[in-house]
């Protein structure tokens, strides 16, 4: 198990007070806080070896390049890529990684009538890029519904994935509900000759992820949701796919030989890294991976399951609370979406903020899912390795306060599919 007390000392921001109360940061699915080790890595880079990479024959440029490329090896180890550093492309974030695939793969390989299979619970980042490319190429989007408990069922996937499917793109874990059967989806996709993209934004930071075992063709995730700075994300892809795809962005670094009318591309993965990347961000991502691996992803997962289970138990004790998605922590990452009576989530969040408790209140960039759940928005508490049961209690008490403030009727609401 994690020594949470020691871990909390690594995160300077957790010493902060908000409205005179200790900060209780429960918005980790949006972005996580950064440990001293990551902040120090940034400071060290900028104050000791800041230089542009892959050019310049001087010591600083070499040190920066070595550090940047070294992170590629760390990512390979972290997600257990069987294909080495060639399979790792640095992007800005999950959104950019998925846009890269939709454009660079889709533009080259999608034909009119081809189908892309998505779930209705996808984050907009795994929906809009496919809408755009499908419109351009005359391809069709097919959506797999969730069941009334908020689960994505394998038989629903089975019904949607067929001979016309060219791509299946699913979140490994929903940013609102629970964990999806992506390994089964990948097997179904491959049986029909389609590719599998996993949006790992909500899974990679929270549990051991092994791309070989998942057997996915693409995995997208963001550094900033796993203790790294904003600005650095990852696309994992099989190198032969990357080699066959067109470039995404053009510019410096991604070229081999440039002539006025046409050019050839750098080797994979550099073909997909045009222009100066967020070097410091990538180096920070390396420090974050070291930090997480030092604690152990299994241990982080176990801790979050415990906290999430406790949060579900506490929130369920308020009759007016509706929790969305499966009720056991095993089927979730550390995300608990809920509504409290008929108080609008913004109002809930505003009262909680007054108690130092930071949660998210919105449609969570998943408007189609909100319509499916028949609510405009939800409140969402999301946990990470530094959260404690006492913080869940703080959430609970602040929520009771919100209930008093808005005079919530403590009558059970009709269960809304959860």
């Amino acid at each position: 198990m994690l020594n949470v007390e020691a871990i909390r000392k690594d995160f300077p921001i957790l010493e902060r007070e908000v409205h005179g109360r200790p900060l209780v940061y429960l918005d980790n699915a949006a972005t996580t806080q950064k440990p001293r080790q990551v902040i120090d890595a940034l400071v060290h880079y900028y104050s000791y070896y800041n230089a542009n990479i892959h050019r310049g024959i001087h010591t600083l440029a070499e040190e920066a390049t070595t550090a940047y490329e070294g992170v590629r090896d760390k990512v390979v180890r972290f997600i257990k890529s069987p294909y080495g550093p060639q399979s790792i492309v640095f992007t800005r974030n999950t959104t950019e990684s998925i846009n890269l695939v939709a454009n660079a793969w889709g533009r080259r390989f999608l034909q009119p009538g081809d189908e892309i299979v998505l779930s209705i619970s996808e984050h907009h980042s795994n929906l809009i890029p496919w809408q755009l490319i499908a419109r351009e190429k005359g391809a069709k989007l097919r959506f797999v519904d969730i069941d009334d408990a908020g689960r994505l069922q394998v038989d629903a996937l089975q019904a949607a994935i067929g001979p016309k499917t060219k791509m299946v793109a699913l979140a490994h874990a929903s940013n609102v509900l629970g964990i999806n059967p992506v390994r089964e989806a990948a097997a179904l996709a491959h049986r029909h000759g389609a590719l599998m993209l996993i949006d790992g934004a909500q899974s990679v930071p929270h549990m051991p992820v092994d791309v070989g075992e998942l057997d996915c063709d693409f995995l997208a995730f963001s550094g900033h949701k796993m203790c790294a700075p904003t600005g650095a994300g990852v696309l994992y892809a099989r190198p032969e796919l990357l080699a066959a795809m067109d470039p995404f962005l053009g510019g410096g670094s991604m070229i081999s030989r440039v002539q006025l009318e046409e050019s050839t591309w750098a080797e994979v993965p550099h073909k997909f890294e045009a222009g100066t990347p967020d070097i410091a961000g990538v180096i920070g991502l390396g420090a974050a991976i070291d930090y997480l691996e030092g604690l152990g992803m299994e241990n982080i997962r176990a801790h979050e399951k415990q906290i999430t289970g406790y949060a579900i138990e506490r929130l369920s004790s308020l009759p007016a609370v509706t929790i969305y998605g499966p009720k056991n922590a095993e089927e979730r990452v550390g995300v608990v979406s809920f509504n409290y009576g008929d108080i609008h989530p913004h109002d809930v969040s505003q009262v909680l903020d007054q108690h130092g408790v930071a949660i998210r209140a919105s449609h969570h960039c998943a408007q189609p899912l909100m319509r499916r759940l028949d609510c405009a928005a939800t409140a969402r508490a999301s946990f990470y390795l530094y959260n404690t049961p006492q913080e869940v209690d703080a959430l609970f008490f602040a929520l009771e306060e919100a209930g008093r403030f808005f005079a919530v009727q403590e009558a059970p609401l009709p269960s809304s599919g959860a």
Binding site: G20, H346, Q350
Partner: protein, 154 residues
């Protein structure tokens, strides 16, 4: 860091909570002259406003529907109370006065806004200002419309 601490009571005044719990002029009109709906994609607040003008341009009747946070719904409810029976020109003047109150909270709230002064505290919570102004943007569109229109907050 020392920010002045806005208090919850500044935002959620009793009058606001009362309008939220018991919205005035909620529903539909039989024969509206104008029907406008507004949506804030950031938070999902929705306001649908129906207006009935007479030949002189006086707002004879008004009704709204919507869903969203207490601020957005209370602001709409209080607005409908204020504009009923007033001319389009008066309504336009109220819109400007209300927006001024949201952007310049240090100024005295304009007296003609009456009870709406209760929403002045919203200006201390910048992320909530859009909740309060949605209805007013919808009204502004409605004053220009004869028919149906739709607006989305940027």
């Amino acid at each position: 860091m020392n920010f002045p601490e806005p208090q919850l009571d500044d935002l959620y005044r009793d009058l606001i909570l009362d309008h939220y719990r018991h919205p005035r002029n909620r529903g539909n009109l039989e024969h509206p002259s104008a029907k406008v709906d507004g949506y804030n994609p950031l938070c999902g607040d929705e306001v649908e406003l129906e207006l009935l003008f007479d030949d002189e341009g006086v707002i004879q009747d008004v009704a709204f529907k919507g869903r969203g946070c207490s601020i957005s719904q209370a602001s709409t409810s209080m607005m409908t109370d204020l504009i009923k029976g007033r001319s389009k020109a008066d309504a336009q003047h109220f819109i400007e006065a209300f927006k001024h109150m949201m952007t310049d909270p240090q100024d005295e709230p304009p007296a003609e806004l009456g009870d709406l002064e209760a929403l002045q505290g919203v200006a201390k919570f910048p992320v909530r200002v859009k909740c309060a102004t949605l209805a007013w943007n919808v009204l502004e569109q409605g004053l220009r419309e004869n028919g149906a229109a739709h607006i989305e907050e940027a």
